[in-house]
């Protein structure tokens, strides 16, 4: 979560006081991400130092200062919004590593390990879904953040299901000496083309 750019975004709506920025920042993240309050004021200091924002009060504390975005700040915000985050490198996924390790150990039931993780993730999804159950009190930013989390966790369950299926097929092929039903069907389909 970029506090720096979120604060710039809030300032792009118009000048705001330090305490107001802190409140609006907390509300805009839907309270999903934990926030170190001190960071907001430190970041405002840095925005001023870098010429991305300016304030009127020199001596007043950060809470009472009135901040506004500069032209340079507007440009930085626009650049940041349009720059995709780095998704090219796969993250080091601990769950993937656990399943890979489990699949190679002779005395471990990998399907059991998969189920342990599947249950845990579905339970997490139940918790998040429960938080959005009451639509009348559902803040839009919070709903978007919950959806993002649910889609992320859903992809984990899908991967576990796919891994489960792939491992079972591989085990079946190994036990039948590679003469499994699955590749035969694939060959037949190929013959029709």
């Amino acid at each position: 979560m970029s506090i720096r750019h979120s604060l710039l975004a809030l300032l792009s709506e118009g000048p705001k006081y330090g305490f107001q920025l802190r409140q609006e920042f907390e509300a805009s993240t839907g309270d999903v991400w934990p926030l170190n309050v001190g960071q907001v004021y430190t970041t405002l200091d840095r925005l001023e130092r870098d010429g991305l924002a300016e304030s009127d009060g020199v001596d007043a504390d950060e809470r009472q200062k009135n901040f506004r975005i500069t032209q340079k700040g507007e440009e930085e915000l626009s650049r940041w919004l349009r720059t995709p985050p780095d998704l090219a490198q796969p993250p080091r996924d601990e769950l993937v590593i656990k399943i890979l390790v489990a699949s190679g150990l002779p005395d471990v039931d990998v399907y059991d390990i998969i189920q342990v993780h599947r249950r845990y993730v579905v339970q997490l999804m139940q918790q998040w879904t429960h938080l959005k159950e009451d639509e009348s009190h559902l803040d839009l930013a919070f709903a978007l953040a919950i959806d993002a989390e649910l889609f992320r966790l859903d992809s984990v369950v899908r991967w576990l299901d796919a891994a489960d299926g792939r491992l079972r097929r591989a085990a079946h092929e190994a036990s039948t000496g590679g003469d499994a039903e699955y590749p035969r069907i694939r060959l037949r389909m190929g013959a029709h083309r």
Partner: protein, 244 residues
């Protein structure tokens, strides 16, 4: 109180060498007002379990108790009456009758049960209103969107005094917003006292349930623990003021 109870239910198809255990030794109870999801891959026995829970098929062994009555051994007529009055079904492809309007589709099960057309219609309209579909009542299925069709199908499933809602991949072909609307609707039926059993392979749908049971090769292998907050989840302060 359990609306649906499966006790040691097994279903075997075929005989001898071709014998297949579709489901084995399933114990499952769905309480009044609760939503239970069954998750599992294709071929895990989800649909068999649902057809047995809905008394459309009989188990090879075990008991199926709906509203306190054992369906196993019940006469055909009694089963048909139970299905008409107590159980509502929702399928992936909606199964609405094309020649009937939304309200006619919804009130049809009541009319089939001998309720006068006018009274059935009034009850049909009242369910549609409850589900926010009153302005769609006179539309034919092909004049409704996919999401609306499925909501009409849910209205039809809970019309009258039905207490058990069974759904097979209820948002199968719908986008995620409509899928969510369908699950909200099923949940609201549960809050109204209906017991619901939903089978799905989709974790996003299953996560609306109070309890998720995992099915694998016809056996219930695991289930989520409803009252345990998993470690690591960030709790929304507004939703849990006592923890803030």
């Amino acid at each position: 109180m359990s609306i649906l109870e499966l006790v040691n239910v097994s279903k075997v198809y075929g005989e001898g060498a071709t014998e297949v255990d579709a489901i084995s030794h399933i114990d499952l109870a769905v309480e009044r007002g609760s939503l239970v999801a069954i998750m599992g891959p294709s071929g895990s026995g989800k649909s068999t379990l649902l057809t047995i829970a809905g008394s459309l098929e009989m188990p090879t062994t075990g008991d199926v108790i709906i509203n306190g009555k054992n369906v196993v051994g019940m006469s055909r007529d009694d089963k048909a009456r139970l299905r008409r009055r107590t159980i509502g079904y929702v399928f992936q492809d909606f199964n609405l009758l094309a020649g009937l309007t939304a309200v006619e589709n919804v009130s049809l099960p009541l009319e089939l049960d001998g309720i006068a057309m006018k009274k059935a219609r009034t009850q049909g309209l009242s369910v549609l209103e409850e589900l926010g579909l009153l302005d769609r009542a006179e539309r034919f299925p092909d004049e409704l969107s996919g999401g609306e069709r499925q909501r009409v199908a849910i209205a039809r499933a809970i019309v009258g005094e039905r207490s058990l809602l069974l759904a097979d991949e209820p948002s199968g072909a719908l986008d995620s917003a409509n899928g969510e609307a369908v699950m909200r609707m099923i949940l609201s039926a549960c809050h109204g006292g209906v017991a619901a059993l939903v089978v799905t392979h989709d974790a996003k749908l299953a996560s609306w349930a109070d309890r998720v049971v995992f099915l694998r090769d016809g056996k219930a292998v695991d289930e989520t623990l409803p009252h345990e907050t998993p470690e690591g989840i960030l709790v929304h302060e507004a939703a849990h003021p006592s923890e803030s």
